[in-house]
């Protein structure tokens, strides 16, 4: 794939890769996300934990451009950016893996990996001829590189198992990593069994080595602590704490998730 100008290029290299400032979003009376500030550093895995309805998915969708914030700013490399559509975020090198995976069951694995970015020949844009053989070749190479075992890239995604589907979604998100900087994952292992989920964790660790920054939502707190550098706790739309994954414990996390504050020890 051709080289795109990298947003890293001219921005100040000291500013965090991604900064959210004062992000708010309400649905009717529900304050899904309220005054949230987050920093994401380069090459960092940031875990996000919180109860159901805490606003984790909404926050991620705001970064991915599929939900628009009511207020707040987003900065990349210290520069304000405008993300109002999914196209915008893709252009900035942000990829999201949705909780529902957003796969096309009726299309084959290669088409799913390349959707929206198919290599074409001849006429421009929509009328260009798909280079199907190249898509299959490159998709197969990608799956192999990521150690993903799927019989054929010609299988429709609808016949794959839950774990395979999850990995197709991940493969799609990292397929164009020359342009990618940030990977957002919404509960990538929620619907998986133990072995499948271990495979996915392994895969996430692998791709991190490729220089990506990852934000990951998960309910499996031990898994998050194992995988992430820092863990952000959300409660009722608010960002209640950020913990260092190495120095915190599962109990501390759970207390924060439930109580919204560190376990009260001897209040005055």
């Amino acid at each position: 794939m051709n080289e795109h100008a990298s947003p890293n290029g001219n921005g100040s290299s000291r500013a965090p890769l991604l900064q959210l400032r004062g992000i708010c979003r309400s649905f009717g009376h529900v304050r899904a996300v309220h005054e949230v500030d987050v920093d994401l550093q380069r090459n960092e895995i940031l875990g996000i934990v919180g109860d159901n309805g805490a606003g984790k998915s909404t926050l991620m969708k705001i970064i991915a451009g599929t939900v628009s914030p009511d207020s707040g700013r987003i900065l990349m490399n210290g520069e304000p950016v405008e993300i109002t559509t999914a196209q915008d975020s893709r252009r900035l090198g942000i990829e999201m893996i949705y909780q529902d995976l957003a796969l096309f069951d009726n299309l084959d694995v290669a088409a799913n990996v390349f959707i929206g970015r198919e290599p074409t020949r001849g006429l421009p844009s929509l009328l260009g001829f798909l280079e199907r053989r190249r898509m299959h070749r490159e998709a197969a190479a990608l799956l192999e590189r990521l150690n993903i075992m799927i019989g054929s890239t010609r299988l429709p995604v609808g016949v794959l198992s839950g774990g395979q589907r999850q990995m197709v979604a991940i493969a799609r998100a990292v397929a164009f990593e020359e342009n990618n900087h940030i990977l957002l994952m919404d509960e990538p292992s929620a619907a998986l069994g133990a072995t499948e989920s271990a495979t996915v964790t392994e895969l996430i660790r692998d791709i991190r080595g490729d220089g990506l920054s990852i934000m990951i939502i998960s309910h499996r707190i031990p898994e998050v602590l194992d995988l992430a550098d820092r863990v952000m706790v959300m409660k009722r739309g608010e960002h209640v704490a950020t913990l260092d994954a190495r120095s915190t414990s599962v109990e501390e996390c759970v207390n924060l998730i439930v109580a919204g504050a560190p376990a009260a020890t001897g209040q005055a």
Partner: protein, 331 residues
Amino acid sequence: MTATATPPGAPLDSRAQAAARARRLLLGQHVLLLIALILLGTYFTSRLDFFLTSQNVLTILRFSAVTFIVATGFTLVLIGGGLDLSIGSGMAVVGVTAGKLFEAGVPLVLAFVLGVVVGVAIGFVNGFIVTRFRINPLIATLAMLFVLLGVAFIITDGRSTQLRDDGFRFARENVGGVPVPVFFLIAVAVLSVVLLHTTKAGRHLFAVGGNPDAARQAAMNVDRFRLGMYTVAGLYTGIAGVLLASDLGAIAPNSARNWELYVATAVFLGGASLTGGRGSVVGTFIGVVFVSALDNGLVQMAVRPQIVLIVVGAAMILAVAFDQRPKGGFR
């Protein structure tokens, strides 16, 4: 469409919620449609002196009767989460059956009753196809539209014939100055309101249409219920078909072609929805009167009937758009 992710751009912020509530209030009680009907009536009255005379109002009601009866059957099916596009052809088969039987010397009342029975049978077949063969009702009844149209033509050998018999043409009579079809309209309306809003079957109909899976979990036999629903709708088709044949005083296989558009417009105007679980007899009644008044007024203003087709098509689209969009609509 399988909606999975939260649809972007479908937020329900407080302003939109207030608007939605206002809309529900207006549409739910058909206030908006009534206002539109009044505006329409006012406009026509200002252009045509005789529009609001009792004579003309009775004419509108008379023409509304057959449409209303078949539209009510259509509404029941929509509420139950189905669809029946075969109504026009079904009415044609009913009408020509009754006419042919009468022509062949079958006593008048028996001919009409048998016609209605044919309507019920058609409804049963529709329901059977949809529930047993699991065929999407849209296509099942579209196919039936053509099968029945073919049957109506086969029965009549493709010809229309007049039936000059006052008994057969009872729908053209007046009783106490009121056209006979209007009595049918009132009877069907009352019975349908009772059926829909006071019986258990009526409540179940809304449940089955609104959320078939939940109904199944509540141990309802949804398929059997829907079979019954289509069969009852067939009864409405039967009554409407007989009335239409009597009003036309003819055996006419193509008498009810393209009725689907008018009926669907009236019913959607009346607040029923393609997605099931919503609709009412009163709404459908106002919708039918609206479409009939539109037709009546435009024709009397010597507007070409083709323009009515355009207006009706546009009205249907707008009715559905207005009704569906606040809830997110088609995605």
